[in-house]
Symmetry: C2
Subunit: 470 residues, 2 copies
C-alpha cells in the first residue's frame, strides 16, 4: 500500500520531482559496504541528499520519493534530508519494484495527478544548471521531454549508456543496444501524465522498465529531446562512476575566475584539500566562516602587541585564516549548501577582519614609534581596504556588471593584502607591509574610479531608474 501523503501545491511555479530510489544498487554495493545505495556518502552528502539538493538548487521544492528495496532505511534518510534542507518530501512504496523501474514510476502516479513532473533516479548526479535548462522547457499536454547529450565524450560509461536517436527534436528510438543513435539519455525527464498511460501499456505486454514506457511514447511521436550537451551529468552506479563523481564534485569546488594571485597559487590548493577533509565533518560553511573570522581576530590580537614573537604567531594565524576563508565557499559548493546569507556573512565579516588587522598593526607601531605620522598613515592604509571592497560593489550596481577580475582587481584583493601583512609581521615589519599594501590598494581604487568614469556608455543603458545619481 503506498502511503498517500498528498503533495502540497507549490508556492512557486516549479513542478514536483519524482526520484526513483527503489532499486537495489547492487553494482555499486558489491564494490563497497552493504548500506543501501541512497545512504552511501559522496563527499560528505548521502546520495539521497545530493539528489534532492541538486534539484532544490535548481528551484524545485517538492519531491516524491519512490521506495522499494530497503524502504525503511531509505525513507528515514530522506526524512532527515527533508528536515535539514527544509523541503517537502512525500513517499510512496512500489510493491513490485523488482520487476523493473517502470513499476516504480507507476507507483508515483496517484500522488502526481495531471500536473507535469520531473523524473530522475536517486543515483544521478545532475548539474543544477542542466536541471534549470530542462525546467525552462515544460512538456506539452501529451508530451514527454528527455534531456539528452549529443557528445559521446561526455559519457562516462558508453557501454552502459541508454542511447537515443533524435530526429528533428523528437526521440524516435531508445535503448541500450541501438544500432544507430546520436545522443545519450541523461536520465532526467520532464513528463506529462502521458508517461503513466504508456507505462501501463508496456506493462500489459510484459515490459516493465521505464525505457519500455518511453519506447511506447516514442512510437506515438510524443518524446521531445531537450539538448543539454556539455552540462554535467553522471549515472553513479559502479565503483568507477563513484570515483568519477568524486572527481567532478571536486572540480566544481573551484570558483570561476574570481580569485587573486595568492588565492590561485597558494590559498586555493591548500584550502581545497582542507575542504575535502572538512566536508566529512558536520561543520557547515557558516561555521567555517566564523572559524576563519575568529582566527583572524586572534591573529590581529597578536599583531597588536609589541612582542616580535607574537607578531610571527599573529602573521601565521592571519594567513591560515585567509586560507580557511576559502573553505566556506568550497564546502558550500561540494555540499550544495550555497546561500546568499552565507556569502553575505562571509564578505561582511572579511571587512571587519581587515579593519581589526589594520588597527592592530597601527596600534602596535604607535606604541613603538613616537612619530605623529604613524596613526594617520595606518588609518589611511586600512581605509583603502574598505574602499577597495566598496568601489567594486558600487561599480557593479552603477554599471550593471561586475568589475572585471583584471590585474588591478587582483592587486586589491584580500588574499594578497593578508599575505603581505603576514609576511611583514613574520619579518618584524608589519607597519611597513601595511603601508605598502595600503598604498597599492589606494592606487587600485583610484584606477577603478577612473575606469568607472570611462565605463562604456551604451546609449540605451545610460539611464534606467536605478542609475539616478545620489
Amino acid at each position: 500500500m503506498p502511503s498517500l501523503d498528498r503533495v502540497p501545491p507549490g508556492e512557486i511555479d516549479t513542478p514536483v520531482a519524482v526520484i526513483l530510489a527503489a532499486g537495489e544498487g547492487s553494482r555499486l554495493r558489491s564494490g563497497r559496504s552493504s548500506v543501501p545505495k541512497p545512504l552511501v556518502r559522496l563527499r560528505g552528502l548521502s546520495i539521497a541528499e545530493r539528489s534532492v539538493a541538486q534539484l532544490l538548487t535548481a528551484g524545485v521544492e517538492r519531491f516524491v520519493i519512490v521506495l522499494g528495496c530497503d524502504a525503511m532505511l531509505v525513507r528515514r534518510e530522506f526524512e532527515r534530508v527533508a528536515k535539514r534542507r527544509r523541503c517537502h518530501i512525500s513517499f510512496v512504496e512500489a510493491t513490485n519494484w523488482e520487476k523493473g523501474n517502470g513499476c516504480s514510476v507507476i507507483a508515483a502516479a496517484p500522488l502526481i495527478g495531471d500536473s507535469p513532473f520531473l523524473l530522475t533516479m536517486v543515483d544521478h548526479l545532475l548539474a543544477p544548471g542542466m536541471i534549470r535548462d530542462v525546467l525552462a522547457e515544460p512538456p506539452a499536454e501529451d508530451e514527454v521531454a528527455l534531456a539528452v547529450d549529443h557528445d559521446a565524450k561526455n559519457v562516462f560509461d558508453l557501454s552502459d549508456l541508454t542511447k537515443v536517436e533524435v530526429c528533428e527534436g523528437r526521440i524516435v528510438a531508445i535503448g541500450k543496444d541501438l544500432a544507430t543513435w546520436n545522443a545519450g539519455d541523461t536520465g532526467l525527464f520532464y513528463c506529462s501524465s502521458m508517461l503513466f498511460e504508456m507505462l501501463e501499456r508496456a506493462h500489459k505486454q510484459g515490459n516493465f522498465s521505464l525505457t519500455d514506457g518511453v519506447k511506447e511514447c516514442a512510437a506515438q511521436g510524443v518524446v521531445r529531446a531537450i539538448d543539454v550537451t556539455g552540462k554535467l551529468w553522471l549515472d553513479v552506479d559502479t565503483p568507477g562512476a563513484f570515483q568519477e563523481a568524486t572527481r567532478r564534485i571536486d572540480a566544481a569546488m573551484a570558483k570561476g575566475g574570481e580569485d587573486g594571485f595568492i588565492s590561485q597559487y597558494i590559498n586555493r590548493p591548500l584550502s581545497r584539500r582542507l575542504s575535502v577533509a572538512l566536508s566529512r565533518t558536520p561543520l557547515s560553511p557558516n561555521h567555517i566562516t566564523l572559524l576563519s573570522f575568529f582566527m583572524g581576530l586572534l591573529g590581529a590580537a597578536g599583531l597588536a602587541t609589541t612582542a616580535p614573537w607574537f607578531w610571527v604567531a599573529g602573521g601565521i594565524l592571519i594567513q591560515i585564516a585567509s586560507i580557511v576563508d576559502g573553505c566556506d565557499g568550497e564546502i558550500a559548493r561540494i555540499k550544495l549548501l550555497q546561500s546568499p546569507q552565507g556569502a553575505w556573512l562571509d564578505t561582511v565579516l572579511d571587512r571587519y577582519s581587515d579593519l581589526a588587522i589594520g588597527l592592530a598593526v597601527t596600534f602596535a607601531a604607535s606604541q613603538i614609534h613616537d612619530a605623529v605620522w604613524v596613526w594617520p598613515a595606518g588609518f589611511a592604509a586600512t581605509a583603502s581596504f574598505l574602499m577597495a571592497s566598496y568601489v567594486t560593489k558600487e561599480f557593479q550596481i552603477r554599471f550593471h556588471r561586475p568589475y572585471p577580475n583584471n590585474l588591478v582587481n587582483k592587486l586589491k584583493r584580500r588574499d594578497l593584502r593578508i599575505l603581505v601583512i603576514a609576511v611583514g609581521a613574520v619579518m618584524g615589519q608589519p607597519l611597513v607591509a601595511l603601508l605598502v599594501i595600503g598604498l597599492l590598494t589606494h592606487l587600485a581604487v583610484f584606477q577603478i574610479l577612473v575606469s568607472g568614469w570611462y565605463a562604456t556608455l551604451l546609449p540605451s543603458k545610460v539611464l534606467t531608474p536605478s542609475t539616478k545619481r545620489g
Copy 2:
C-alpha cells in the same frame, strides 16, 4: 530644398524621432522675448535641447528636426545640442510650414523611408518614462499610434487640448472641438509611413494640419491609442504653460524616497533653491560634485587644526558642502543630465570626504589629548562610515533589492553624520560628535548585517549564479 543628410542606421533598436520645430510659437513669444521658441530657456535648457534630451533619456538616439520659421537660428541651436549631447541630428526645411504642421511632417518623409518613427513637437514636455512606454508599443505596418491621457485632471489647458475619442483601443475621432471625447492627445506619435500617405490625402483636400492627417488615418481605423494616463506631458505654448512647465521640472528635481532626515528637512529645501539658481549657470552636475568634494576637504583641513575658531569654520564648511552635495543630482534631473558616471563620481568622492573628515577630527584630538584611546576610537568611528556604505551595496548585490530606507538606514546616512560632526565642531567637541555618530553607525551596520542574515529566502531565488558565496 530639404537638406538630405542621411539618417544613419541606429546601433540599437530605437526609432528615429521627428521633432517639429518649424512653427512660429507666436503665443509664447508674445509674452516673452523675441527669440524663436526653441531657443527660449526653460530651467537652464533651451526648449530645443530639452526636447532632444527627454528622448535621449528614453533611449532614442537619432533625430530629424523639421525647420521652418527662423530656420537658421533654430538649426544652429540644435547643432549645438547635437554636439553637447553627442547624438545624431539631421535637418530638413519645410518650405510650406506656414500652411500647417502637416506640411512639416511631410517634409521629413524623404529622410525616414519605411521605418517606423516617433513624432513630436519641439515645445512638448514629455516624461522619459512616458516615451519609454510608447517605445514599447511599436505600430504595425500600416498603423499610427498616439499616446493619450484619459484623465482630464492631467491636462493643463483643456480649451486648447486636441481631444480624441477612443473606442476599444482605437481612436475613432480627433479634433479640438469634439462633442464627445474620452482622452487627450499628448502630442507623441509612433507612426508607420502610413501617416505620410494620409497627410498627402488630406493635403489634396486642402487640409494641412497633422490632425487632418490623423483624421484620415482614423477614418481607416488604423490609429491605435497608447494609454499613458498619469505620465507627465505638457504643451508649452503659452506663458501660463511655461510657468507650469517650470513648476513640474522643479517638482521632478526631488529624488524619490531615498533621503535621510536631515536631507529631507534641512539640506533639500536649501539645495533645491540653490540648484534652481545654479541651473542658470553653465556648471555641470559633475562640477558641482567636485565643488562639494573640495569644500568638504577644506572643511576637514579646518577640523584638523587645534584652533576652536577653525573648528567652527570647518564645521560650517562641511555642512555647506553636504547641502551642495545634493545639488549635483538635482541639477542633473533639472537638465536631464543624469548619468551613471556622475552618480559614480559623487558616491565614491563622498566616501573619501567622510574619510578625510574622520581623520581630521581624530588627528586634532590626538594633538590635544594625550590618551592612547583617541586614535583607535576615531579610527573605528570613521571606519563605520565606510562600512555603512559598503554593507548596503553588498546587501543590494546579494539579495537583488536595495536595502529599504528605514530608520536604521536613515541613521547611518551621510546627511546626519555630517551634521552631527559639524554641530560638534561648532560647539568645540568634534571628537565626541565623531565617536557618538560612529557608534550609532556601527550599530546600524550590525543591524543591517543581521537583517541580511534573515532576509527572505524565496526558494526559487536562493541560488542564481551571481549569489555564489565568496
